[in-house]
Symmetry: C2
Subunit: 364 residues, 2 copies
Amino acid sequence: MVAYGCFSFMIRVGVNGYGTIGKRVADAVEAQPDMELIGVAKTQPNFEAHTAVERGYPMYAAIPERSPLFAEAGIDIAGEVDELVAEADVIVDCTPSGIGAQNRELYETHHTPAIFQGGEDSDVADVSFNARSNFDAARDADYVRVVSCNTTGLSRIIAPLEEEYGVDKVRATLVRRGGDPGQNSRGPINDILPNPIKVPSHHGPDVKTIFPDLEIDTLGLKVPATLMHVHALNVTLEDDVTGAHVRQLLEGEDRVYVIPEGLGIDGAGKLKDFALDAGRPRGDMWENCVWGESIGVNGRDLYLFQAIHQESDVIPENIDAIRAMFDTEDKRDSMELTDRTLGVGISGDPSGFSEQARAEFADD
Amino acid sequence: MVAYGCFSFMIRVGVNGYGTIGKRVADAVEAQPDMELIGVAKTQPNFEAHTAVERGYPMYAAIPERSPLFAEAGIDIAGEVDELVAEADVIVDCTPSGIGAQNRELYETHHTPAIFQGGEDSDVADVSFNARSNFDAARDADYVRVVSCNTTGLSRIIAPLEEEYGVDKVRATLVRRGGDPGQNSRGPINDILPNPIKVPSHHGPDVKTIFPDLEIDTLGLKVPATLMHVHALNVTLEDDVTGAHVRQLLEGEDRVYVIPEGLGIDGAGKLKDFALDAGRPRGDMWENCVWGESIGVNGRDLYLFQAIHQESDVIPENIDAIRAMFDTEDKRDSMELTDRTLGVGISGDPSGFSEQARAEFADD
């Protein structure tokens, strides 16, 4: 066991919305030595609700009229969502896009700080957040928005490049998965959709909530895949650099995994297999996965491909956002604690990955 | 009937390789008033061979030892491929990538000029060709290579931009279909593959066979789709422009179709439906299909999305290459004749598209 030291108080966390993101945030909160998961709220007693009960998470009904459905499904609820909000020090809102904004009034009524997800407009909160890029902006904020999976993925690359070389302009094409594995009513099938068709897309402005002065244009597409997004990234730097130097820089980032050439990882499918083989929960890939071989430089123009696991890359960010809001740890300590407790970070020697992951999760 | 005027002589064309490209080239040659299709060569008597026979195309065995297979399949062959090569004024080689280069010796032996496809390395021929961009470079050449579908699609956009504004740099992400509809042993399924992983990809250098002085970096991916490629294109121009001006420029290009906003065309599937509804042969889309709504400008940076039909966009180019090699028509006349006979070009008023296409193909 790792000794985590002494924490002045435990932050009592409620999770509102227990779907793809909510269930992962709940597990991540549960793994933190300085946080207590006091409950999760859910609209319906589906398979995820049953898993929550098995894990011992107090279940709250997100929609009061639907409370009886939980009883019918054999699930004892601890109460309704407003009780969870009243009891919590902070709510992590993981409801579908647009619902979070509607929920803000509930959180305000109870004077409960809240974290929203990137599906909400940026004006839902006082600050948009990425731990690596602007941790301190969320200090003592009551309402914080963790930016979307794609914006998180872009921010983690832009931050070190900006610090090390200066960034003249970013141009990114986001080849997005059509839906998550469980979203089987979404498409496309056998098509490549410019989405949004309008260029530049809204993703660039979202990155600017983290880097206000950045020049960035983005293009988005949707394709028939469910596992991860893939970014084709171009960054025009302020100075000439070498690919080797950029690679070394990115290899030094804890939440960026530079995929070594020899592993035979050619796409998202093998990345997910790699994570599942290592025993990671749900096969999550919290890190940006940058193909080392793809890091190429032409003058001041840097190019690379990275895969972004839309279901999980924001999870460590939600944990760090909580600590930033309560000002309990500084950036470095919070990120290190989050990464250590979750198992984020793949060492340069991938043979150690499985062992490391197994050791971390054996503790849960 | 359109009167085509008087042609001094008919160019006798043989097509070696009768698959996805070859069968389309054969039909296109057949539609030309100044060309005669003297035969097609094929390796095996599959379904495409039977269609060729029904169309009355003399069939030659591409591999002598396999001649008996054609007889067994009930197909009378006119001879073997070397006889076709000997009789032809020009061979259009539509064999799979790499085979064309092996065939060059056969063509040289018979002193028969030849056109190769973009799957061959550029050194297979004296000149790489795109009608809009460098028609005159192929004049009197004995060996010409029509560049690939993707390079053709890029060249048709770059040429007018270069002429009108000057191009500082092109950055293109090519989201490529994994295989053609019939190539059912190819992938990916449910994955997004950087391909090639190395950045920049080989596509940029291929465009430079047409525009030697162009600055261009390309990134390629493969996705689970079969219908068309989609390009996310960025062109940094030498001057500030407006999106409206660029749109007007591209709308003036005969082999570029700027998709109007009101048609509800959001991807390759509907583009193909549009072409099939119009009665186009095989639902071919010979034009670059640029989403009008996507044409966006930020300072000197132009962005757009275009779909490229990998099976057919090079077909008019092969026809023009023949005329360039024999110096029978100038660029404008050749391209106009090709477009008129094939039905290439969609007027700004899409309601006329079907009527136009039906009229053209009723003549065949």
